[in-house]
Symmetry: C2
Subunit: 227 residues, 2 copies
C-alpha cells in the first residue's frame, strides 16, 4: 500500500481554506461517517456511485469534493475505504487530538460534554466552565470537571484548549466569547442565538437549532398543500 | 399595502417541495432571522445587497432563493422588511402553531425543551417523553411536562402533535422513531447518531453536532498549515 499512499496523499494546499465552503467541509464529515460504517461492515473498496446510492448522496458531488484535495479514486476500483477515511481525517484535522472546553454547564452544556459523537471523532472534552458557585467543582455524568469561568485563561493554557463551545444564555454570549478569545482559544462553536463578534484570527461557527426545525416545518407545510 | 400583498404573495406551487433543497430552506430560516433583527431595529425596507452586506450573505443567492417562491422585491426599493418576513413565515409554514414533542428527557431533551429559539418562531413544545419512572410526572425548568413514553400515541392525538424531536441514546433511537411513526407524527428531528428509517410519508431530518465541530477542526488545521 506504500505506492498508493504516495499517489493518493491529500494535497491540503491545492485550495486556500477560505475557498473551501463550510458546506464542503460538512459533506466531508458526512463522507467520513459513511466510511466508518462501511469499514465496520468489512467493506474494503467502494465506488462514488455505490457510496452515493447507499447513503443517499450525490456521486458527482462526492467526486468533486474529494478532487479539491487530491486524487483518491483508483480507476476500476473506486476508493479504498480505510485509505480514504485516513485522508479525510487528515484533511479535517482529526489526525490529532483537539481539546475542547464547554462554557455553560446547564442542560445543553452538560449534554454536549457527554455527546458520544464528539469523543468518537477524537475530540477530547477537557473542561466545562460556569459562573454558578454550586456547579463549580462538580462533574458531568461522563466525568468532565466544571471549573470557575474566572479560571478560563489559566486552564486554557494548562489544558492546551483548542476549541470552546458556547452554551450560555444569549445575553451572556458575547461576554463569554470575549473571555474565550482573551484566553487564546482560536476556534469557537456557538449554540447561542444572535450575532457574535470575534477577531479575524478566530474561527466562529454558529449552530442554530431553530433552522433545523423550520426546515422540517417547510416540508410539512408543503405536504399539506400538495397532498 | 393591499396592492403590494397582491403582487408579492408567495407562490408555494411554483416548485415542487422535493426540488427545494434543505440548503435553501436553511437559508430562508436565516433570512427570516435577519429580518427579525432589522424589524426590531426599525428598518422598513432593505435591498438584497444591503441585506447581504449586513449579515455576510450572498445577494445573488438571496434573490435566487426568494425568486423560487414569488416576486418579493420592488424595483428601486428592495424588500419591505415586515412584508417579506410575513411571506417567509408563510413559506416556512410558521404562520400556524406547530406542536412539538421531545422524546428523551435527559440533558439534551431538557435543553431543547427550553431552547428559546423554538418558542420564538412559534413552535410550541407541548410534551417531553421518557421511559424512566423517576422522570415521569416531572417538568422541565420551563414547565414542559414529562410523560411516560407508553402514553405517546394517546397524548399525540390529544395534543395534536406535529413534530417529534428524538433525543435518546443511539441504541434506542430506531425503536423510538417507530413508536413516533405509529403515533401518527409526520415530522421528526433526530439528534441521535446513526441511520434511521421512516416510511415515505414521514419527513426525517437529522442533526449531527459532530459535523459542526469537524468543520471548525478543518479551519483550525488549515490555519496551522498556512499560517
Amino acid at each position: 500500500m506504500v505506492a498508493l499512499n504516495l499517489v493518493n496523499r491529500p494535497n491540503k494546499r491545492r485550495q486556500a481554506p477560505d475557498q473551501v465552503s463550510e458546506l464542503t467541509t460538512n459533506r466531508l464529515s458526512i463522507y467520513l461517517r459513511c466510511l466508518h460504517e462501511l469499514d465496520a461492515n468489512g467493506v474494503q473498496t467502494i465506488s462514488s456511485q455505490a457510496l452515493a446510492e447507499q447513503f443517499q448522496l450525490n456521486a458527482a458531488q462526492i467526486r468533486k469534493d474529494l478532487a479539491y484535495f487530491g486524487e483518491f479514486g483508483v480507476r476500476g476500483v473506486g476508493y479504498y475505504v480505510k485509505e480514504l477515511r485516513r485522508h479525510l481525517r487528515q484533511i479535517l484535522g482529526l489526525d490529532r487530538k483537539l481539546r475542547v472546553a464547554i462554557v455553560g454547564a446547564g442542560n445543553l452544556g452538560l449534554a454536549l460534554a457527554d455527546y458520544p459523537g464528539f469523543r468518537q471523532e477524537g475530540f477530547e472534552i477537557a473542561a466545562l466552565f460556569d459562573a454558578a458557585r454550586e456547579k463549580i467543582g462538580q462533574h458531568s455524568r461522563g466525568g468532565v470537571p466544571i471549573h470557575d469561568i474566572k479560571e478560563l485563561k489559566r486552564i486554557a493554557r494548562r489544558e492546551r484548549l483548542d476549541i470552546s463551545v458556547i452554551a450560555v444564555p444569549a445575553p451572556h454570549a458575547q461576554l463569554v466569547v470575549d473571555q474565550v478569545v482573551a484566553a487564546g482559544i482560536k476556534g469557537i462553536l456557538n449554540f447561542s442565538p444572535g450575532a457574535l463578534h470575534v477577531p479575524e484570527d478566530v474561527k466562529l461557527k454558529s449552530v442554530d437549532l431553530t433552522v433545523s426545525l423550520e426546515s422540517l416545518s417547510f416540508y410539512l407545510a408543503q405536504g399539506e398543500i400538495d397532498g
